[in-house]
Symmetry: C2
């Protein structure tokens, strides 16, 4: 049985990944320092669902499935403590085969609130990643690090976005480089930086890394999260932690106009949370050899914001909800009309079969939001964070 250590296991992706891999008979160790929980409390944000603590969720998971997820409260930004914990857990379980690194501040708007939140994002994302690198290279260099990256690192270049790498021919000579990265928030820039750091560590210490360049995720449940209501995954609908499809679905359910930023031509790659889990599994099953970094563009399809709004409006109309669309001043500094053509074929070649954003998926999501609509704090829909 392979040992998987999940960092940031309390999050929107961390918890469903923990359950999914436990269900697939991986031996899962789930850690978190509840950094995001502290932020959402401070900012008076809530998840649509009230869920037990991660520790309790692990206990409920055991009761319901007879499978064990080991929980530990660990701060990755504390090198000494994390290093000791890693030693201890390897002593107990044997080699950790894979570390899945979700332990980063994941919100672009949060990183743009103030100088303090931008410092916080840089500190958390880089010191955490650096501590992970230093622990792995010292204690377990064969362990595979799977890090959640973002398609946002690439920005919206005027050329086809290749999967991680680009061969450049210049003045008659050639070399291969990381595909040029140019992001549009401090958060996304911190992800460019953690890629730089991991790629340096691969070259220098011959560690093994997979960087998953993921698009905005959507979805409200997974197979495992439906086993028991206490295993529900977090669902953020606010401007800071909500991804756009989740936000629009919520807006549709509560009769709020869909808040399209600017002209709505912004095109990105999207992925269902169930697909995220399948991709992570493919990444785990296909580690690189030492000194190499696999980079996958982890998306299922691309849409403009206007296309998403149209799909949600249609799905809502099936529930007799009349959804309005409102173009608001774009609070972000981003192109509203641009070329966008990412390649995303490597995961498919590994057997990943993607889910399409269907009216059924959207209707199902809207229904779940409707049941819980009294929990929604309306003033969090728009928080007026701009840059």
């Amino acid at each position: 049985m392979k040992n998987i250590l999940i960092l940031g296991a309390d999050g929107y992706l961390g918890w469903p990944t923990s359950m999914y891999l436990s269900n697939k008979n991986y031996n899962v160790v789930a850690t978190d320092n509840f950094y995001k929980k502290k932020i959402i409390k401070k900012l008076k944000i809530n998840s649509l669902f009230k869920t037990p603590s991660l520790e309790k969720k692990c206990k409920i998971w055991k009761l319901k499935t007879k499978k064990k997820i080991i929980f530990e409260n660990i701060d990755l930004c504390d090198f000494k403590k994390f290093n000791l914990f890693f030693k201890k857990i390897q002593k107990k379980l044997g080699k950790i085969n894979t570390v899945i690194h979700f332990a980063e501040q994941p919100s672009a708007p949060y990183s743009m609130i103030s100088p303090y939140t931008s410092n916080d994002t840089i500190y958390n994302n880089l010191i955490g990643t650096n501590n992970l690198i230093n622990t792995i290279r010292e204690l377990s260099p064969e362990t595979h690090i799977v890090k959640l990256g973002t398609m946002g690192e690439y920005g919206t270049p005027n050329i086809v976005i290749e999967e991680g790498w680009l061969k450049i021919i210049h003045k008659g000579r050639s070399d291969k480089f990381l595909f040029p990265r140019q992001a549009s928030s401090i958060y996304h820039t911190s992800k460019i930086m953690d890629t730089d750091l991991l790629w340096f560590a691969c070259r220098n210490w011959k560690i093994k890394v997979t960087d998953l360049m993921q698009g905005p995720v959507y979805g409200i449940s997974t197979k495992e999260s439906q086993i028991d209501k206490n295993l529900t995954i977090d669902f953020f609908y606010d401007e800071i932690f909500g991804t756009v499809i989740n936000r629009f679905v919520t807006q549709a359910a509560i009769g709020h106009p869909l808040t399209i930023y600017g002209k709505g031509g912004q095109t990105r790659g999207y992925i269902h949370i169930k697909d995220t889990l399948k991709c992570i599994e493919k990444a785990i099953e296909n580690p690189p050899t030492r000194g190499h970094m696999n980079i996958y563009n982890q998306i299922s399809e691309t849409f403009s914001i206007n296309e998403i709004a149209k799909k949600i409006k249609l799905a809502a109309s099936n529930l007799s909800l009349n959804v309005k669309v409102k173009n608001i001043k774009n609070p972000r500094n981003e192109k509203e009309k641009h070329f966008y053509s990412p390649v995303y074929s490597k995961l498919k070649k590994l057997g990943f079969e993607s889910t399409k954003l269907s009216p059924e998926i959207l209707t199902e999501m809207i229904k779940k939001v409707l049941i819980n609509k009294n929990k929604i704090i309306k003033k969090n829909i728009l928080r007026n964070i701009s840059w």
Copy 2:
């Protein structure tokens, strides 16, 4: 009279830059938090010359030249304090025209000593730069930031190194990007990251930045440092803070074999400290317009390590010193034979006239070291830091 704020004014480049610009009738404010002084004390490293504190040096400068350099002890990593200080100084002097940002941890070997020193490097270099960005964008967006970068950000690619930017044509479309960066230490990677951060800030907040991609600097004095012995600049000859020419000159003077790392084919661009000053002046005189980043490759000529050793051996023989050369196991992870062809023409087009590494310069340097050879702590020549 233009106001120049120099961050990290106590360092090997900071102090001579402060004097040079003061002498050119800029109104110079020199700040430091003495972070490097603390490190060198902790590591039991010394400069070849014992110099007064920065505060005292500013007073001596005033006495000797009738020109004033304002001193302040400020930690750039403390956003609140730095921001207040910037407000205060602008209230006193009027607009700060240029900030020269030397306030970074500048040593590759230091960044590679331990997980703690690598975290320290990342924290200091990125939080500092981010605080500077946030202060400038809030209080003085017309102020020009001149940041000392490094040619090491580019690494040793198999293609010609352009000056900062590269136009890429791919699948029939084209775009312009930062020239691909791929460095060989945590320090150098932190400099890739601060470039990422500044370039994001230029695009997002329309600030003005110049990034000086400098090669290893050498030299023991400048015109201004020779005005009084108390105005002497620091000179590090150790493995951690000494740059290669300064280290080899010291080794030649004390009869230590020149420590060539590996085969010695490593080629880099070098620059005399007097040329650094001229380049910085050119950068100040030619600010970009808002939202733009000037990037200059700041070197005067390129040499392999073997070529440098040969030049120093020859210069030493003029002083009847018989210098030996010793190839030691390369403590660094770097290519010892590689293609290296950087473009460095932009500063020349602005009128920069470079100094060549001559036997006279080297002989002069060796002489100065000889006078002070009793100050040298021999065990600092090689500290056995490897990666």
